[in-house]
Symmetry: C2
Subunit: 330 residues, 2 copies
């Protein structure tokens, strides 16, 4: 098996985040589900954008955040995702390339504009997201470059790909390519409502097509319809795969190879905005995994990367994450 040219290739929705502060009253008045990602249409995103406060734009997308984080840690990464040939598409392309991520997906030729996600951050640092998928829905199997996938040690996929209709074909093609090349497939469950929308397919995926699973507590409870964390943990352990279950302030639980690690969270100086915490946890974890470090080290580095991202607005690192890696994990 050839040495991988990339440590990780990410495939996901190419989205520009539009971040603004909001209070609970604003969420209630506009019928927004707190802490969740809700899919909205073009009309709704325009209406909400008009009534929300002053915002900042920043390239986002769950898997894209993860590969940007990986690049910041020093990993070699690539990304596949669909933007439109418009201003926000150029912003997305500029930012992800400037982060050091190889990105060559052709823009959608016609149709909808680049996907946008209105992220409303409440004073408790929770983020509530309204996503207009736009050009993301054009992503299909023809966008998956088989040689690129085969050249990456790990193919990282976001559960959100199950929302746009043809992206799941891209997902399945990528997973099959990766395994045919003897590589690993990682999946983030993305969001508990996303899991609810696609529970049976996700169960099939984690059983048969995924080697490394990332999920937060709400997502893993939803996946197994488990009444408490421990029962969700036992169901996940029964898969016999590697999995990292993140629990916000409770840290994370990492399983694999018969091991179980209960990791405390990394100390965060402040919590401003939790957008991207899960994405960056996955970045830290996979960076350590790609370097052959043990599961406890993977969890530690995941926690450190998550602690950086929640300390400021936005889901892309503001510091070179490589400088945060402790000496014993380099």
């Amino acid at each position: 098996m050839a040495q991988p040219r990339f440590d990780v290739i990410g495939i996901g929705n190419a989205i520009v985040d539009v971040l603004a502060h909001a209070d609970d009253a604003f969420l209630a008045a506009n019928g927004l589900a707190k802490g969740a990602m809700t899919l909205v249409d073009a009309g709704r995103v325009e209406t909400l954008y008009r009534v929300m406060g002053p915002a900042v734009e920043s390239s986002g997308g769950s898997a894209a955040n993860t590969v940007a984080g990986l690049a910041s840690l020093g990993s070699r990464t690539a990304f596949i995702g669909k933007v439109a040939d418009d201003a926000f598409g150029k912003v997305f392309r500029h930012d992800i390339r400037a982060s050091g991520v190889a990105f060559d997906s052709a823009p959608a030729k016609a149709g909808a504009p680049t996907a946008r996600c209105l992220v409303l951050v409440t004073p408790d640092a929770q983020r509530s997201m309204q996503t207009y998928l736009g050009a993301s829905v054009e992503l299909g199997p023809e966008d998956v470059d088989e040689k690129l996938v085969a050249a990456a040690g790990i193919t990282y996929l976001e559960g959100y790909l199950w929302d746009p209709p043809r992206a799941k074909e891209a997902f399945r093609k990528a997973a099959a390519c990766a395994h045919a090349a003897g590589r690993l497939v990682a999946l983030s469950l993305s969001d508990s409502f996303c899991v609810e929308r696609h529970r049976e397919e996700f169960r099939d995926l984690v059983r048969h097509h995924v080697d490394i699973l990332f999920a937060n507590e709400a997502e893993i409870l939803s996946l197994w319809q488990a009444p408490d964390f421990d029962q969700a943990l036992q169901a996940t352990r029964a898969l016999g795969k590697t999995a990292a279950l993140t629990r916000s302030a409770k840290g994370s639980v990492i399983i694999g190879n018969g091991e179980v690690h209960v990791a405390d969270p990394a100390p965060a100086a402040r919590v401003v905005d939790t957008t991207g915490a899960g994405d960056l946890y996955a970045a830290g974890f996979l960076h350590a995994q790609a370097r052959g470090l043990g599961l406890a080290a993977c969890g530690r580095l995941g926690g450190l990367a998550a602690a950086e991202i929640i300390g400021h607005l936005g889901a892309r690192p503001e510091t070179q994450l490589k400088s945060l890696i402790p000496a014993d994990l380099r």
Copy 2:
């Protein structure tokens, strides 16, 4: 192997608790170590008793609290421990028998009075304990009735027995009797300072003489001199024994038979006094264990019993714990 006549026999220091509220300033002014158990002599206990506020007396002692909790859950239990033939000795005997625990240890003939523990409860519900061992130091192997130990499914021992000089001989005799009869031996590490005083002997005990280990986070970190919880967990897992590691508001982690359970804490209506939380967790755990329930059920019942005890002052249950057992654990 004969059916056990008792589910659990506890062996520990027979102590009467003297509980009073105090603030941090009082602890500081009197040089008391917050959250810990400190051994004091007769003169010091008199001095402290004189300056502390109004108190209530209540039978205590770590292993004694556990067997009282087990009886309240419906287990058949016995206790071995040394009181003096004095007023507090009569109180201890009355209370433990009234709880439904068989207790026939002969009182010490002469010497020191019944052991007392001044428990100072701060507004944050933490307890700081000053123990005068008194008659407890008379406990020796001659007090361990071999037939009684052989008749109990589980022999439960408290780490505090390592403080009075001859009690460890009683401990060793009991553990040997239990194993010779094909029974199980359980140990609570009791207190992180107690672990520090006896670390090497405790390591030998948990490796070679104990089947079920109870420890809170500070105790297990101290036992292995581990820098974080996960590393202490891995060292404990390597023993290949059953263990329950309690983490206060973080719940508990239970290991055994290759299983690892991460149990959330039971919801506590209020937290008044954490005295006895570990003792009652052990009671719930062992009650489920004696009934052949799985490790997850053991942890759940431990959490429920602990939640009751921290809701009021004192380390003995105020409600019939049996009524708190959920239908699926009966």
